[in-house]
């Protein structure tokens, strides 16, 4: 025999962006801190050791910021012209930077004056970095040359002149101390082995390369240039794995998160996109005020720092993890009572009498079960339900309407209750999920309480509010229809091969709209 069926509260799918784990994760940052620098920020590098300070290269200065400091804790300003690419060594003690005048300077993080200065480049050096053995430095610049320097002696070990245009990016391999790559405006990425006289591999990116990145495993290489981010398999001889085109302006910087599962790319189109490195799909995207030049993510993804063309440094810190166990634990029954009888294993010949499952009904369901419509409506107008789960309130109203008792449930209420009802209706009637039901409710309320209009100022005000809300919504709908009409004409002017012979068959614009938008 059937039992009472509770009221179905319809869950509606969230429109727009779908909430995934990624969105939750990447949204877990506080509002950004903005720091003004002297010029465009061309490089941000985090110290690999705690407390994870970061060096920001902008104009002729290198600022070092602490984790939460808004003022630089240290500044290197011994540059005559612009400094480039200040990079930490893996132990976090040394910092190397290139400069406009062509010299490379090596600083001790705790000191002020440069420890070494490497001269040899004839043009500005845009790329410098430590190889993973920590004793050698590679560099490249506008003189098309890529050089390797020995720190202890301060001399050049080898120089490659293979690029045919400015070299603007480079990256050492984490697994092999002899390997580094450089990307150039001549559309190529070259992989160098310091034991060899020439480059080991050349990858044709197709656009001027703005940024390169090697995966920690050393097997995959990511290059960014033009609107494209391309991933190459180094071990397969530089085979293109995937080409991503998600930005609509030049991609300027690349970065991996601490786990290596997500790839971030910043672009002049003011967006940072986050890709999953398994599916290479965009899982999240950040929006910034101006074009992005540099991007860095601290270990453990604690901080995202983005440098922009107007010299603003945008720092986002991660929100502390919310402890969920804070809520007061409900007192459980004592262990003994809980366990009582549950440990008994029935024997084979035992006849088990199953206890009927007790179904717990919500309060409004109980009232609806006993046909108490008015009280059921009261129950769903209680503050917690009305405010946080309006869909329950609306579902019960709909159920009452279905039973034909909505009118009697709404009738016979005092000023306070009418006020409450009207507030609810005026606020929610514009929600497309509830419109159809609440319009009926509003209709019935005005019908019932028409004779008493004018007797209470509070109720009158609510009626006016409702009228205003509905008027506004109607205007809004009209505007939307206008937009739809405009779009229809736009789509209609699209002349396609397929649409050409479809024209006669489709007189309705809507059908065509959907089809063309699907093709896009």
């Amino acid at each position: 025999m059937a039992t009472y069926k509770p009221v179905v509260v319809q869950g509606f799918p969230k429109l727009g962006e779908r909430i995934t784990q990624d969105t939750v994760y990447w949204r877990g940052y506080k509002t950004p801190v903005q720091i003004k620098e002297f010029g465009a920020v061309n490089k941000i590098d985090f110290s690999p050791v705690s407390p994870y300070n970061y060096a920001v290269t902008a104009s002729s200065r290198i600022h070092i910021y602490g984790r939460y400091s808004q003022e630089p804790i240290k500044t290197f300003s011994r540059f005559k012209d612009a400094a480039y690419c200040a990079t930490y060594r893996d132990d976090g003690n040394l910092l190397v930077a290139g400069s406009e005048e062509g010299s490379i300077r090596l600083f001790d993080v705790s000191g002020r004056a440069p420890l070494r200065q490497f001269d040899g480049h004839t043009k500005p050096v845009h790329v410098v970095g430590f190889l993973s053995d920590m004793y050698r430095i590679f560099s490249a610049g506008d003189d098309y040359a890529s050089s390797l320097w020995d720190i202890p002696s301060g001399t050049e070990i080898i120089s490659y002149n293979e690029h045919t245009d400015y070299v603007r990016c480079g990256c050492p391999s984490k697994v092999n101390a002899d390997v580094f790559i450089t990307g150039s405006y001549d559309h190529t990425v070259k992989l160098f082995d310091t034991r060899m006289k020439n480059s080991v591999m050349t990858i044709e990116h197709g656009q001027p390369v703005e940024s390169v990145l090697l995966f920690p495993s050393g097997g995959l290489l990511v290059s960014a240039g033009g609107r494209y981010v391309k991933v190459w398999d180094v071990l397969k001889g530089g085979q293109l794995l995937v080409s991503l085109k998600n930005h609509h302006k030049t991609v300027t910087c690349l970065c991996l998160n601490s786990s290596g599962q997500r790839l971030l790319s910043g672009s002049l189109d003011r967006h940072v996109k986050i890709y999953s490195t398994t599916s290479y799909k965009v899982v999240h995207s950040f929006n910034y005020a101006t074009s992005i030049l540099s991007l860095a993510l601290s270990p453990e993804d604690e901080t995202i720092v983005v440098g922009m063309t107007n010299g603003v440094l945008n720092v986002k810190h991660r929100k502390p993890e919310v402890r969920k166990e804070k809520s007061v634990k409900k007192r459980q029954p004592a262990y003994r009572t809980y366990v009582k009888g549950r440990t008994y294993m029935p024997k084979q010949e035992d006849f088990c009498v199953s206890k009927p499952v007790k179904r717990v009904l919500r309060k409004y369901d109980k009232l609806l079960k006993s046909f108490q419509s008015s009280k059921a409506l009261d129950a769903v107008l209680e503050p917690p339900i009305r405010l946080y789960t309006p869909e329950v309130t609306v579902a019960v109203m709909q159920e009452l309407h279905r039973r034909g008792t909505l009118r009697s449930a709404l009738a016979g209420r005092d000023e306070k209750q009418i006020n409450l009802l009207l507030t609810f209706v005026a606020r929610r009637v514009i929600d497309p999920r509830f419109t159809s039901t609440l319009v009926t409710v509003a209709d019935i309320i005005t019908d019932i309480y028409q004779p008493v209009v004018g007797q209470s100022a509070v109720v009158d005000r609510q009626f006016l509010k409702l009228q205003k809300a509905i008027g506004k919504e109607i205007d809004y709908q009209e505007e939307l229809l206008e937009v739809l009409g405009m779009m229809d004409t736009l789509f209609a002017t699209f002349t396609r091969k397929r649409a050409a012979y479809l024209e006669e068959s489709k007189s309705n614009g809507l059908g065509e709209t959907i089809e063309t938008s699907m093709n896009n």
Partner: protein, 833 residues
């Protein structure tokens, strides 16, 4: 074999069960129920239909057990006869013809050899009267009942409006607002009238009546939901009554318990109310019985009661007011909107069941397989309430997907929901996958899946057509989010329309490459890959009513029927009309397994069936006057194995069987089998019926037991056991008497030992148990053999001796003795030679 028999129209389910109150057999093992022209016998234990008793020419209106013989049943019918049946064997014992239409039957035990019927005064219609019919004991199958005497005239035609008082002292009849009591002993009639209701005219009229079994007390139900208990009605003035009120609508039936300690009432609310001691206080309820209660009947031993519902369901309720069983065949739904759909998985018929549910009806067993709750909302049994109900159903991908549309009529705009269900193999039931609110802005007119066998599930396409002048194509989309609960969901892929006409029908071609959608007068054909309009067909001025593609060899044809009475066939290759015929086709049903198409036409008072192949101009089969009622729906149900069809003419019935549903929701089919073949099936049931409950297992066990018993008799063990059992009283007495009152052991010894001996006489065939006959025969044969050995002279006539051996089981003792004498005489006679 035999010459091709004519196709017979066979009723196989549905109909109307609630013509009369159901009757329990005396031992409460069987339930008898009037069902259309038949009486059905159900087993209470197994809910199976054991027997269908048929013989009446019209609807059975009343059934009553013969109060003087519990194995007999009286039934009355609209054909003007009362029949007496042996319901266990299904044999009509006698037929009494009364002449006029009988609408109710009563057989109170207090009256010897007479029953009461409510009959029309003059022939077929007109005022009804309660008549006492004396059942003559005259010989002959058909007897005319002559001794009729009118008890009350001007009674209501409903069988619930008359009740007999305790020990048949009085009879009560209610009609509108009058209560008539006739006292048999005093031959006096008493009349009480209700004061007309002040609020609404006639709202307090009587609807049913019941009499207390032991006291002078009458309970009447009223159409305003009140129940009145009348007492002291022997006097015109001093009568009293009390009122009980719970029902909000008409009390449909009342019944007293066997001892009269409580009263049961039921109505449209589908709640059985128990009123103990006729008081308003401790009333008890059994709610949510599914559908309005029409009749309530009690078992004679009071162990259970049953309620008959308006949707043909029978609910058995035990004495603790707990739901125990429900017997349900084809559930009658007020309006079948879903059509007849065949579930590809179970081959069950699928259609609207109880409100908001989808019933899966098994054709073989005439039982409901299960009922799927689609709407999942509490159904309020109240007249005039628009509640959501199922309107369209479609199965896809061999029954793995089910699409349902439910709608609720609203004044402004209908509330529509499209639901897609996936068959869960683990739970063996359908699980809701996607729910789409308002898939169309107006009513959905048709829905179909693209059924392509070779392709994967992912290519499944659903098309819905709506009155909002569009058709929509729904596709399965995979959910990219790994955290989502389900892998796939459905979403709209394409919206098509044609000149702003209402879309009415849709169907896919057999290979799934083409979709045909009819827009009022025009049929449009679309490519199912690119959704391009390929061509249009039109046959003015009629609007397209039905449409289907040909199958197999006829897949290039598209058949459509219009509402102005034309059946057209278009060739898809030449895009031209192939042929058309002037038939008013109501239903067009293609056979899924062959190229045949069945069309059912309707002229006033006559439905005809045409079966044709689209590529042939002549129909394969025509059956005029299939049924007098309008046929609402039809469906081809694939057979499990192709049937052997003797005639070329019925080749179209080889792969599938055609079922029809009439206006009155009777399920009929066409059968090539003769009546005998069908009857043998039911006689099989009969054989097993004796050892209830009948389950396959019990059948198996029964066989085994039978074997064993035979073995026992062969060994003669059984005989010894029999002796033991026979002698056991003496031994028992001996054993159970206290030792101190027993005589000495030496005295008892001889008695005891004698009791253990097997006496010789007992071996003769005196008490023959039916299954020991064989053994007896063997013994007799043995005897004769011995005799042959001893006396050679008997060789002359061995046959009489043998026949003697066989005879005893049939002859009485005295005859036997005579035979023996003759035998002795024979000897002497032979010796003389």
């Amino acid at each position: 074999m035999v010459a091709p028999a004519k196709l017979r129209v066979v009723r196989c389910g549905g109909g109307n069960h609630h013509g009369a109150r159901a009757v329990f057999s005396a031992d409460s093992k069987y339930l008898l129920c009037a069902s259309g022209d038949f009486v059905k016998v159900y087993s209470v234990a197994t809910e199976e239909t054991l027997r269908l008793i048929g013989g009446h020419a019209d609807r059975v209106t009343g059934i009553q057990l013969n109060p003087h013989n519990h194995m007999q049943l009286y039934s009355s019918s609209l054909d003007g006869t009362i029949k007496l049946w042996d319901f266990m064997d299904g044999i009509a014992i006698k037929t009494f013809t009364v002449g006029s239409v009988l609408v109710a039957l009563y057989a109170p035990p207090a009256f010897e050899d007479s029953v009461f019927v409510v009959a029309a005064k003059n022939g077929n219609r007109g005022p009804f009267q309660l008549i006492s019919v004396k059942l003559t004991k005259a010989a002959g199958q058909v007897v005319e009942a002559k001794e009729l005497s009118v008890i009350l005239s001007g009674v209501d035609s409903s069988p619930k409006c008359i009740a007999f008082g305790r020990e048949g002292e009085y009879v009560v009849s209610v009609k509108q607002s009058d209560l008539n009591i006739y006292f048999f002993r005093k031959k006096l009639a008493q009349r009480f009238s209700l004061r007309p209701s002040k609020v609404i005219e006639g709202s307090n009229q009587f609807s049913c009546v019941a009499c207390h079994p032991t006291e002078d007390c009458i309970a009447t139900g009223h159409s305003n939901g009140k129940i009145r208990i009348w007492r002291n009605f022997h006097h015109k003035k001093e009568y009293t009554y009390s009122t009980l009120h719970w029902h909000h609508d008409t009390v449909r039936d009342l019944a007293y318990s066997v001892e009269g300690t409580y009263l049961l009432s039921g109505g449209i609310e589908a709640v059985l109310v128990v009123w103990p001691n006729e008081s308003d206080r401790q009333k008890d309820f059994l709610p949510r019985l599914g559908s309005p209660i029409e009749h309530i009947s009690m078992a004679a031993d009071g162990s259970q009661c049953c309620t008959l519902h308006t949707d043909n369901r029978i609910t058995l309720i035990d004495s603790n007011l707990r739901f125990s069983k429900s017997i349900q065949g084809l559930i009658k739904s007020p309006n079948i909107k879903t059509g007849l759909v065949v579930d590809p998985r179970t081959k069950a018929l699928v259609l609207n069941g109880e409100p908001g549910h989808l019933q899966f009806y098994c054709l073989q067993t005439d039982q409901q397989l299960f009922s799927l709750d689609i709407v999942q909302r509490e159904y309020i049994h109240q007249a005039g309430l628009h509640q959501a109900d199922l309107v369209k159903v479609a199965f896809g991908a061999q029954g793995r997907w089910l699409a349902t549309v439910e709608e609720r009529e609203e004044v402004t705009d209908p509330e529509l929901q499209l639901k897609l269900w996936f068959f869960n193999e683990e739970t063996q039931s359908f699980k809701l996958n996607t729910r789409i609110n308002t898939p169309h802005e107006d009513h959905i007119t048709d829905m179909c899946f693209r059924e392509v066998e070779e392709l994967e599930d992912d290519s499944l396409i659903l098309v819905t057509t709506g009155k909002d002048r569009v058709f929509k194509v729904w596709l399965m989309v995979e959910d990219t989010d790994p955290e989502a609960q389900q892998r796939v969901s459905w979403s709209c892929d394409f919206v098509g329309s044609y000149h702003n006409y209402q879309a009415t029908n849709c169907c896919f071609s057999e290979d799934g490459s083409l979709l045909a959608v009819s827009f009022e007068e025009t049929v449009t054909v679309w490519d199912s890959v690119t959704w391009d309009l390929k061509c249009t067909f039109c046959y003015p001025p009629g609007k397209i009513r039905n449409m289907c593609f040909g199958r197999l060899t006829c897949s290039k044809y598209l058949i459509g029927s219009t509402d102005c009475g034309f059946l057209c066939c278009w060739n898809l290759l030449s895009c031209a009309l192939e042929w058309s015929a002037h038939i008013n086709v109501l239903i067009l049903q293609p056979d899924p397994l062959s190229e045949y198409i069945a069309a059912v036409s309707w002229l006033p008072e006559e439905s005809s069936l045409f079966v044709f192949k689209p590529n042939e101009t002549q129909p394969v089969y025509i059956q005029r006057n299939l049924c007098r009622l309008k046929i609402q729906l039809a469906a081809f149900v694939p057979r499990d194995e192709p049937e052997m069809v003797s005639s070329e003419k019925y080749l179209w019935l080889r792969r599938s069987q055609l079922f029809f549903l009439t206006e009155t929701q009777e399920l009929i089919t066409l059968s090539t089998k003769s009546l005998e073949e069908r009857l043998t099936l039911s006689s099989k049931q009969l054989a097993v019926e004796e050892s209830l409950p009948v389950t396959p297992f019990s059948l198996l066990l029964g066989k085994h037991r039978h074997h064993q018993s035979q073995e026992d008799t062969d060994l003669g063990k059984r005989v010894v056991q029999k002796q033991h059992e026979q002698e056991s009283p003496a031994v028992k007495e001996l054993l159970h008497t206290p030792a101190h009152v027993l005589p000495s052991a030496s005295f008892l010894c001889t008695i005891f030992i004698n009791s253990l001996l097997i006496s010789k006489e007992n071996k003769s065939a005196e008490e023959v148990v039916a299954d020991e006959v064989e053994m007896e025969n063997e013994q007799a044969e043995d005897d004769s053999e011995e005799e042959r050995d001893v006396a050679e002279m008997e060789q002359d006539d061995p046959s009489p001796v043998e026949s003697l051996g066989e005879l005893p089981c049939k002859l009485s003792k005295s005859q036997e003795r005579e035979l023996r004498k003759i035998r002795k005489m024979d000897y002497s006679w032979i010796a003389a030679f």
